[in-house]
């Protein structure tokens, strides 16, 4: 048993605060870190410090960046008529990986979640509204998660954005690629039916 004031305990306590890391994993990581050569652990500690010090939210889209505006906002090759709204900064990389979307992004930094105390007033949408008002967007794709909270947020956004002359779309919800229809539940199949597309030759 380590004493309360043991430095290793402090490290474990800090690691435990990371989402997804429990007591056991925290302990394993802590012992691994202690076993590293001094320069490697210094390098990790410095990487955390630097990343924290040098990154911030993009003043335009709320993505995490080290330059302002961020890479996606300042890229002149991207289409200014298209916007994709996502919940969190890390959602951008999932969409970027597809290579299909070449417009601009907007990060909400959350979704409506009454149980966490996030209502329409807490969800900061002023920046988004200002962008849509002043920009030249023709289509806005709402790419919140296909969950109750993501859906409620998408519909709320649709409501506040509908007065602007812009087409609002939502990512299709339905069957995951590689799955089997027999194992999908009724909500998933219904959504897939509603979002069906025409076959063209």
């Amino acid at each position: 048993m380590l004493g309360q004031d043991h430095p290793l305990n402090r490290l474990i306590e800090e690691l435990k605060k990371i989402p997804g890391i429990g007591a056991k994993t925290a302990q394993r990581i802590a012992f691994y870190l202690i076993g590293l050569p001094q320069e490697e652990s210094d390098s990790l500690a410095n990487a955390i410090k630097e990343a924290k010090r040098k990154t911030f939210y993009c003043s335009i889209c709320n993505s995490i960046t080290h330059i302002d505006p961020c890479y996606h906002c300042s890229d002149e090759g991207r289409d200014d008529r298209l916007m994709c709204i996502v919940e969190e900064p890390y959602n951008i990389s999932s969409i970027e990986k597809t290579g299909v979307f070449n417009g601009r992004y907007h990060v909400l930094l959350g979704v409506l979640s009454p149980l966490k105390g996030v209502g329409p007033d807490e969800l900061k949408t002023e920046k988004l509204i200002k962008r849509v008002k002043e920009g030249n967007f023709k289509e806005i794709i709402i790419a919140t998660n296909p969950t109750v909270e993501g859906e409620a947020t998408a519909l709320y956004l649709a409501k506040i954005l509908k007065s602007f002359n812009v087409k609002l779309t939502r990512l299709a919800m339905g069957l995951p690629v590689g799955s089997d229809i027999d194992f999908a539940d009724q909500v998933t199949i219904k959504k897939a039916l509603e979002g069906r597309t025409e076959l063209k030759d």
Partner: protein
């Protein structure tokens, strides 16, 4: 470890680990149960939409010795209330119900009446029922089941029947008549008693036309919520969002 099963309604979920979710179920036979659904955030996982809030499900799980958390092995969707939560007010109202159940009935114990109340209220909402009215309906029944719905009919002090307006006692455990009330802060209108009589005999209404006006309903809910807030010692988070 035998496999157990319960009919349940999902109250909420939160993420844990890289791909898992913790699910708070309100089961018909054991009350509130928390469980880990392994892989529930993986793409195309076996749980599908069944773990979304307010899904009516049959859940299969293993109990672990000396642990609060059960392991969810499967979850079959019986009835989904995913789509009705497209309406923000409905969605927030349902979050509010879920918060109330966890606050007032946190422990594992059978609450059959409350379970049937929640399910029938969900079904009424699904059939197009009014969320304000059903909100009041749910609040009143929940307080009744908790045993903290005060007597609004007779004065707490002089025991005389209250015919006109009364005032809620400071400890929210009774009503004072106009002669006995120490303060005139929270007025109780006669329609509250009528409402409580009405809900005793009527299942959650699916209809739009209702026997109480929006203004009456507002006063009824104000009293019910004052009692809820008093007992929770805070305003429910979801209620502030609803407002």
């Amino acid at each position: 470890m035998p496999l157990e099963q319960s009919e349940a309604i999902v109250l909420r979920t939160f993420n844990v680990g890289e791909q898992d979710k913790i699910v708070v179920f309100f089961t018909q036979d054991k009350g509130v149960i928390k469980g880990v659904a392994k892989g529930a955030r993986k793409f195309g996982n076996r749980f599908g939409s069944s773990l979304e809030p307010m899904s009516h499900v049959k859940v299969f799980y293993y109990e672990k010795e000396r642990r609060d958390l059960v392991t969810v092995s499967n979850c079959d969707l019986l009835e989904s209330f995913f789509e009705i939560q497209n309406v923000l007010k409905t969605s927030f109202t349902l979050s509010y119900f879920s918060e109330l159940i966890e606050e007032f009935f946190p422990s594992r114990s059978k609450e059959d009446i409350l379970f049937r109340l929640l399910l029938s209220t969900l079904q009424a909402l699904g059939a197009g029922g009014d969320s304000d009215f059903l909100g009041a309906y749910f609040e009143a029944w929940l307080l009744k089941i908790s045993g903290i719905l005060p007597n609004f009919k007779t004065c707490k002090k002089c025991k005389k029947e209250i015919t006109d307006a009364g005032w809620l006692s400071p400890k929210k455990d009774g009503t004072f008549c106009i002669h006995c009330t120490p303060q005139k802060k929270e007025e109780i209108r006669p329609e509250l008693n009528q409402f409580l009589q009405w809900i005793k005999k009527t299942p959650p209404p699916k209809k739009k036309e209702l026997p109480f006006t929006p203004e009456q309903l507002m006063h009824i809910r104000k009293t019910l919520q004052a009692i809820i807030i008093f007992h929770m010692e805070k305003e429910p988070k979801s209620l502030s969002c609803l407002k």
